[in-house]
């Protein structure tokens, strides 16, 4: 179902529907997802945020519970209704990839509750970023995986495309905000085609998970990791990286147990109490990062843990590019 939302009605969408609205906001030279109170706070012309919106469901620091002496005080479940407005299709897709991890076997209540209470309103990409390669992973600038609604920017209005029941309900329950679509769909198709052809980076990932199974002992990892600095940019800024550390933080009797993003690039990540480290070098750690995304995750959850957003390449201090690495591996 398509509808149209005039941009001058955005403020109503943000304030009248009872959601906490989280949207891309420009701060200095970078864009990040923040709570907004009006449409003019939102940066609609961004390519992508530096820190991905995974932080909304999986914050960098999260209190698991508090304690006082020997008594645990569990957190009351968050019930706040949220709308993520203007999220890019690739980032929304990352949630579809992460969902099985957080919901299979042991359910992660923190992630699940936020996810359930949030409606994702995406923003189709008209001008992809320089390192985007989403089309190589079966997605694209107009991909709707993970989204409830997709917006297409048309100047003074958005074409609103409903994807899920949740999205449809939002449209029908607030029909006074929306108008019927006329010839917008045709224009949207043109924008999509232009956007897709603007993506210059491609890599063939068909058969890659299987191929990687034969490459564990290959010397290529040594070469690849040679100039890696071992910082956590590529993992912290990845929308599908989900590793975390758990720590207790105390002051006197009171304290809290937190979980906080961790990175497989961190030597301490696998360091045993005995001092033994199964992944002692950058080579081991880089191999684990790449294999986790393109071999282990597909093995365990049936999907490559990469959305092609290009953040790892854009933010690597020494210019390492995942597209190039995958091409190298695929070409062996």
């Amino acid at each position: 179902m398509d509808a149209v939302l005039k941009k001058d009605r955005l403020d109503e969408l943000i304030t009248k529907l009872g959601y906490e609205v989280i949207a891309p906001v420009r701060k200095g030279t970078t864009v990040s997802f923040e709570t907004v109170s009006k449409a003019s706070d939102i940066a609609w012309d961004y390519a992508n945020s530096v820190v991905p919106p995974k932080k909304i469901f999986f914050p960098q620091t999260e209190e698991l519970f508090a304690f006082d002496g020997k008594t645990i005080a569990e957190r009351t479940p968050e019930t706040i209704k949220r709308m993520v407005l203007g999220i890019r299709p690739c980032d929304a897709r990352s949630f579809a990839i992460l969902d099985p991890l957080f919901t299979k076997d042991f359910k992660d209540p923190y992630y699940i509750r936020r996810r359930e209470n949030t409606v994702l309103v995406g923003l189709a990409c008209a001008i992809p970023g320089r390192n985007c390669f989403c089309t190589s992973l079966g997605a694209g600038p107009f991909d709707t995986t993970g989204l409830d609604l997709l917006l297409v920017d048309m100047g003074d209005r958005f074409l609103v495309r409903s994807v899920t029941e949740k999205g449809k309900t939002l449209l029908t329950e607030n029909e006074e905000l929306f108008e019927e679509a006329t010839d917008e769909a045709g224009t949207a198709d043109e924008i999509r085609e232009r956007a897709e052809s603007a993506i210059k980076r491609t890599v063939d990932v068909s058969g890659l998970p299987e191929k990687l199974k034969t490459l564990f002992d290959h010397p290529v990892w040594e070469d690849m990791a040679q100039t890696c600095l071992g910082c956590y940019n590529c993992t912290y800024l990845c929308p599908t990286c989900h590793c975390f550390d758990i720590q207790d933080e105390v002051r006197g009797r009171k304290g809290r147990r937190i979980r906080v993003w961790d990175s497989c690039s961190n030597p301490e990540y696998t360091l045993h109490g005995s001092g033994y480290n199964p992944r002692p070098g950058r080579k081991n750690r880089m191999r684990n990062r790449i294999l986790h995304k393109y071999q282990y995750y597909p093995d365990n959850f049936g999907v490559i843990a990469c959305v092609g957003c290009g953040r790892c390449a854009s933010n690597c201090p020494v210019g390492l590019s995942i597209v190039e690495e995958l091409s190298t591996l695929g070409g062996i």
Partner: protein
């Protein structure tokens, strides 16, 4: 929704010092404060629990007693890092947290009717102790039981009292060893794999389970294969640094296998083909 990150509080009801020194080992017997949970908590030998000391953190340990022992759990813990050091400071009646059981455990039902051969080294005996107790408590379900166990010195041998008791029984064969000669030691002197080769148990209808330092495991498996054991007759239980224990936090993977969730028990048949750092 149940919260898998929140531990259940338990009280230490017994403490036994197994090994003294820098890397001391203590066995903690704990009982859940919730009486209903204490009686209903069930697990499989080889499964693990996440033991919490609020304010210090959590560590993943094999449950070292058998589920046939009701009403309590035991963990045999070596003093190594921040959490284990703090745990070693605790005394009886103090509180810890426990969540679990985690991991797959030994397939004890599938092993019914088979001979069981346990090969342990150092603190690696902890999960094997659970299995040994289980087999002893269900003695008629299993064939011959052999326990091969060694440590660097007599001072490093865990569960010595129990093992000496077992030596007196005729339904289990215990083969102890230490690495170097010591006065008064009349049993075998040498490494565990050497002791295994010397004893040369028959692979016939037998399952061999080994746990200990990685280097020992490696040579034990080589020795077992020489004795004619096939990979599907060999099992090991592994350890990795862990945080969540439930397969989410990432770090304990060997290839695509997560030790906390898919392990810690692996048959050599599976493990030999897994590509990953151990």
């Amino acid at each position: 929704m149940e919260n898998p990150y929140v531990p259940n509080m338990a009280t230490i009801i017994g403490l036994k010092e197994e090994v003294k020194g820098e890397r001391a080992i203590k066995t903690f017997r704990v009982r859940f404060n919730d009486a209903e949970l204490a009686d209903s908590f069930d697990y499989i030998p080889g499964q693990c629990g996440m033991v919490t000391l609020l304010g210090k953190g959590e560590c993943f340990f094999a449950i070292s007693c058998s589920p046939t022992k009701k009403g309590y759990l035991e963990f045999s813990i070596m003093r190594l890092g921040k959490v284990t050091r703090a745990l070693h400071e605790l005394e009886v009646d103090e509180t810890v947290g426990v969540r679990g059981p985690y991991g797959n455990g030994f397939p004890v039902d599938e092993w019914k009717g088979k001979n069981i051969l346990c090969i342990g080294g150092g603190i690696g005996q902890a999960p094997l102790r659970s299995l040994i107790q289980y087999v002893m408590d269900n003695r008629k379900d299993y064939g011959k039981l052999d326990v091969i166990y060694g440590a660097r010195s007599t001072a490093d041998l865990c569960f010595m009292g129990e093992l000496e008791e077992m030596e007196k029984r005729d339904d289990v064969d215990v083969h102890l060893s230490i690495d170097n000669e010591e006065e008064g030691w009349t049993r075998f002197v040498g490494f565990v794999p050497t002791n295994l080769t010397r004893i040369a148990p028959s692979p016939e209808n037998t399952i061999a389970i080994t746990c200990g330092p990685p280097i020992m495991i490696k040579f034990v498996i080589q020795a077992l294969e020489k004795l004619g054991f096939t990979p599907d007759q060999i099992f090991t239980t592994l350890e990795m640094r862990m945080k969540c224990g439930i397969g989410k936090c990432g770090r304990c993977n060997i290839g695509n296998v997560y030790v906390c969730k898919d392990g810690p028990v692996f048959s050599w048949d599976v493990l030999k083909d897994v590509k990953g750092e151990m």
